[in-house]
Symmetry: C2
Subunit: 413 residues, 2 copies
Amino acid sequence: MSATSSLVPIADGSVTSPQGFTAGAAAAGLKTGGALDVALLVSDSSCAAAGVFTRNAVRAAPVLYDQDLLGERPGRIRAVAMNARVANACTGADGLAAARAMAQAAEQAAGLPPRTALVLSTGVIGVPLPVEQVGEGLRQAAARLSAAGGAEAARAIMTTDTRPKHCAVRIESPAGPITVGGIAKGAGMIHPDMATLLGVLTTDAHLEPATLAPLLRRVADHTFNAISVDGDTSTNDTVLFLANGASGVEPGRDGATAKLFEEAVHHVARTLALAIVRDGEGATKFVEIQVVGAPTEAAAREVGRAIARSALVKTALYGGDPNWGRVLAAAGAAGVALEPERLALLVAREDGDWLALAEGGATASPEPARARAIFEQNAIRLRLDLGLGRAEAMVWTCDLSPDYVQINAEYTS
Amino acid sequence: MSATSSLVPIADGSVTSPQGFTAGAAAAGLKTGGALDVALLVSDSSCAAAGVFTRNAVRAAPVLYDQDLLGERPGRIRAVAMNARVANACTGADGLAAARAMAQAAEQAAGLPPRTALVLSTGVIGVPLPVEQVGEGLRQAAARLSAAGGAEAARAIMTTDTRPKHCAVRIESPAGPITVGGIAKGAGMIHPDMATLLGVLTTDAHLEPATLAPLLRRVADHTFNAISVDGDTSTNDTVLFLANGASGVEPGRDGATAKLFEEAVHHVARTLALAIVRDGEGATKFVEIQVVGAPTEAAAREVGRAIARSALVKTALYGGDPNWGRVLAAAGAAGVALEPERLALLVAREDGDWLALAEGGATASPEPARARAIFEQNAIRLRLDLGLGRAEAMVWTCDLSPDYVQINAEYTS
């Protein structure tokens, strides 16, 4: 857990809270009703940048474009151009040309050199990106760039999200203050065609790309990659991290600052990731799954993810059913070697203590009414002890409700 | 596909259609309302026997018992004792003792030597098996053993199945007729706590255990293992195959008979597997997924299963939404190396011809109304061509409806 006491949350913080970043948004007519649907984030100076991307074999054009650009110029990024409503995925060579055109429109609109803008798209798969419309939106967004624009950008990338997601924190290092901010939109199991998780993190700290990339990977594994994913990994999932150095502080200079900085990044990423889970359409419950006593952290995470994506577990949670057998069965199907007679499953009571549901792989015979009352809460914390080692992992998810099915069954084209 | 012309279906066929098998069932009071809940299958002579079992790390006591017995005496099996309503899973050492007591009760009731009866249980996890009740039920079932009892046994093992599942076929070999029969109950994604697939196949052909086991594995991979599994692999999944040799015919004697015999077993297993998919509670559609052009059959199967377990694909199918992007995205997440620009997705039209939805990984722009009319049918056939090789696989599934969630959210203990 983060030593959050050293982190100062910034009210209404976002990607523009760190020094030297501005953002703007516009309504390009992709969404109906004049809603914001295009956004532009710009840094005053070149950024070190890194990204984590979908592992889906079918990657959308903006993912391919960004991976290529970050491979070539990870120290020269100035902007991120974003749009909602059209994912520019499964669009072939035309789609890649459209992603390039979108980046160029952003660079021209903001007066930036070529090949300095990354792109993010989310929305329906298989529909061509309306390049002219998006380009016009980016020109309008560029005219509105401001240091208060991050929250607006968070609103523009919403699809079926019901709330924009943004936050920022400041830390005081011996060499001066550093700020880390971020925006994100909903993901995974929760949101239909627009099932994409998009996130942008920014900081005014100074870091090299070679330091930034592994840091982002570590943080994403414990935050964005630890929220419910159901196998429906999106073609567009992307989290970008831009560091412009405007604060003049280099966290890499001393170990304590480096640690504090990583905690700040972790805090922002975790806040955004949990906001995505809480905003699941159709979701009625927030569920934390702790897997402890694992031989390795990877094993703990696999087991946690298997539980989080189990339809039987998620429907039981929706029904407030303390059906612990489903949790053990889901864990057993994770592909991790388990010893059933060592398994213990606990659930957090209202007072924070733990109630054992199963011990030694068999029922711990709690009072059914007691367990049921706990499972009827809006937030549920489960702890599964594998009894095999000392590694652990945390995964967050939501329940599966009939509303989820109804939302996803609707005709979307 | 099977050369079904040589197979003669037997009306109302089941595990007791092959010579030398009898079965009986009883109401032991595990289910309410006096419904059949215990069954016993007996062979007049020793059987070669084989089983395929759940790959879940948390295996139920009857699975552990059967694996042990089949390892020790694969040529000496005489009976299968079955019960519904209590899975005897996550029950620890007591559960294993209960499985042993259940087998012994069956052996004593049917006058068989010790260690000749296999056991199958299905139902709620984590509840002790009521051994006395099950034993009394087995004694009643033994008193009712008859060559017409297979259908009754199929009814006794139903949990939330709405129909019993049983069938049999006869083949004429140069050395005489052979019969293959089977019973099964529902599975997987479809059925909540009682999410177990149980199947029993019988034949009066003569085979050695060493031949029977790999044959069952091959057949199961293309039938029971090819129907929708959502990661919620049950703790109890089991398919048993008993061959008592009563026909005096040895299919292994000539290649043509061996091939015809395997087709017969495949036909029975496929008929039962598809009956399970069609009987999915909450399911409104039957979906066949053909994956062709794969580098290996394993790769084809992985891709097919990834599509079949995708909640986004299944909800789109429920909604009659020709949302092909979700199918490509699910395929991309299967963990198989794909080349997106080679992907083609087709759907079978009402007249049996194919309509291309996507080609080269991008939209094939069919008329939306045309595609929608096809997706509104009760049976949908999808064909995904990976464009990478000549291997293929077939997977069957059903859609995901709000009823599924409601059924699974109900309190079950």
